[in-house]
Structure formats: C-alpha cells, structure tokens
Symmetry: C2
Subunit: 211 residues, 2 copies
C-alpha cells in the first residue's frame, strides 16, 4: 500500500465491515472472502479490497481474510482500541435517550458528563447515574473528565454557541444532532446526524416515484 488520500466513504464502510465481521465472529466463522463479506454488507467486493488496501495487506491470497485478525486491524485503523469519553449538551428528550442508549458503550464510547441550562434539571441524575451539570462548569469538567467528543443535542439556536465553547476547550470532535450547520475551525471535526434531511429525502423519493 502507498500513501493516498483516503475517501471519507471508506471510513464509513470500515465501520460497517466491522459490525458485520463481529457478527461473523459470533457465528463462529473464521475466514471470509471479500465476495461473501461484500454480499453481506451490500457493497462491491473490489470496494472492500480497495478500502482495506489503503491501510495494509490484511488478506491471504487464495484464501480470504481471517475474521478475528481483520476485526483487530479495523479497530486499530479506526482508533477503537481505547475508551472514548463523550459529553452531552442538552438533556432533552433526545439527549437523555442517547445517554440511555446502550449501543454506544458496546463500541467503547461512554458518556462521562451531561450539561444543560435548565435550573430544574441541574443536579438531577440520569438513569445511568450521571449527574446533570450546569454549562457554566463545562470547561472545568471537560478537562477533569478528559472529554474527547462533544454531543450536541440542544435547540438549533444554541448549537453554534455550544460548539464555540467546545472549541475553546480544545475538543476535536463534535457529534451534532441539531439541524443546523455548525462552523468550526479545521482542528475540529463535526459529524451531523440530521433526521429531517433523511425524511425530506424519503419524501422526495416517494413523491417522485409515485408520479
């Protein structure tokens, strides 16, 4: 493999491969070909080989990929062989559902702080035992608990403000659930989770296929 720019889509697919490999491992499959894995993931076999080739030679010619080894390799590539500490901003419906959502922890992500501005919420504890703090204490707590990633679940109008604070505190990653584009410097990466765009997409495709 040589140095090349890695497509963003490749990283997304690595996540998908990883989940499917986990499932294969659980089913006792030791070795898998790019063709079978591709079918399971719904992509082209060459795509898988190319994606993996960006990072090394993980397969055995004539045989395929050893499931267990490949899982280790992909986890290593993605940086998942460590704990990632999350801080939640905005303990509303969505925010508190996210904290309770068990799927995060499975992959090494854990909420270590939750912030809100509503005085009625401050001091209360979430189901996980996590206490809700006032945003004012944010900088101190982020440092103390070594927060890696900020999860923004505040109303649209407050999202950019929260992001600004996160950047000042030196956070490099933001998962943004609010339906607005957040402006950040290059040192920080934002991933948006925007259901309304997805719904609009469905609306468009259903409407236009019906005509």
């Amino acid at each position: 493999m040589k140095f090349a720019k890695i497509p963003l889509a490749t990283i997304n697919r690595l996540s998908i491969y990883l989940r499917n490999l986990d499932e294969l491992l659980a089913n006792g499959i030791d070795v898998i070909s790019s063709e079978r894995l591709a079918k399971q993931c719904g992509v082209n076999p060459a795509q898988i080989r190319k994606d993996l080739a960006y990072f090394g030679e993980f397969g055995v010619r004539g045989v395929g990929y050893r499931v267990k080894d490949l899982i280790t390799q992909i986890r290593d590539i993605l940086g998942l062989n460590r704990r990632w500490n999350l801080a939640l901003f905005g303990v509303g419906n969505l925010g508190s559902a996210l904290v309770r959502h068990g799927n995060f922890m499975k992959h090494g992500y854990q909420f270590v702080a939750a912030f809100d501005v509503d005085p009625k919420k401050i001091g209360k504890r979430l189901a996980s035992g996590l206490a809700i703090e006032h945003v004012d204490r944010f900088e101190e707590i982020v440092k103390e608990r070594q927060v890696d990633i900020g999860v923004i679940a505040v109303p649209p109008g407050s999202a950019q403000g929260v992001a600004n604070q996160l950047i000042l505190a030196g956070i490099n990653g933001i998962l943004n659930f609010s339906p607005v584009q957040i402006q950040v410097p290059d040192c920080c990466r934002v991933e948006n989770v925007d259901f309304s765009i997805k719904l609009d997409n469905l609306a468009y495709h259903i409407s236009s296929s019906a005509t």
Copy 2:
C-alpha cells in the same frame, strides 16, 4: 433544464438550502444571490445554481433568487407541500424521544401510530397522546391511518423483520435508526441514521490527526 439523473447529494442539499432560506425569510430578506446563500450553507455557489437547474430556472439573472418563491419551489420539488404520516416501531428510549421531538412537525411530518411488542407498553399513551399498539395490529392500522413512512427504532435483531412487514403492507419509505443494513426491494427506499458510524468517523479523524 433537461432530463438528467439527479445526484443524491443534490436532494440532501436542497433540504439544507430550504432551512437556510426559511431563516432568511424570517429575517426579512427578500432576495439572495447564490454566492451569499452558498456561504451560509457552506457550499460552492455554482453547486447551488446547478442543483436548482436540475429542476428549473428559479432565479433572475443579474438579481438573484426571490427567497419566498424559492422556498415554494424547493418544497414542491421535495414533496413537502403535504402531510407525511409516520409510524414508529419500537417505543424505547430513542423511539419515544423521536415522537416527542418537536422538529418533525414543523416540516409536515407527523407520527400517527406507535408500535411495540412489550405487553407492559401496549395501551399506554405517549406524551403526544398517541396510544402504543401491538405490532400485530400493524397492517390494519397502517392502512387505516394512511402511514407513508415507517420509522424503525427496534433492537438490531428485529429490524429486518419489521422492515419485511412494512414492505408487505406496501410502505415505500423507511427511516432506520437501528445499526444494521436492511434489505428491501426497489419499490422501497431506506434511509439510515446511524450514530455509531458517525462516532467511529470522529474516532478515526481524531486519532489520525493526533499522530
């Protein structure tokens, strides 16, 4: 404009343009150039013009786009000038948060049914007043309440089963919050909302920029 295949990304951006135009309208802006709108949306001006050109000529040369008209046009393209009825599957943490989440209704989406399999939940009402039904009554209710889109928020293992039922019932759009690839025929479109992929993405970018 002529007939051309419309990029998927174009549809996604139309949603973003629409939201920003709504904001401009609220601020009393009548007319906007592709350049200014582009800056606000974080895209290239030519991109906006090209995206819109797939659907018609909405601008005025030498002037720009009339905000109010453009909003109407985009809503029309996306199929948002109607009500869209949603059915929720899986009234867990995430599911109930989605129903309570006010942002849907703003854009014409409304939950008209909620299903679960847990006997303890059946018959209870969500904060919105919506009663939780057993999945067994699904087909009847979907027809009766004219559900357009199914929202899947069940555990990963049950997602494909729910999708199969939805397809049998003739549903053409699925918003899938479970972290698995759902297989559907061409008549049905699936949009995935997958936080764990997004988190993995952040993990990768933070890890690799730190090295």
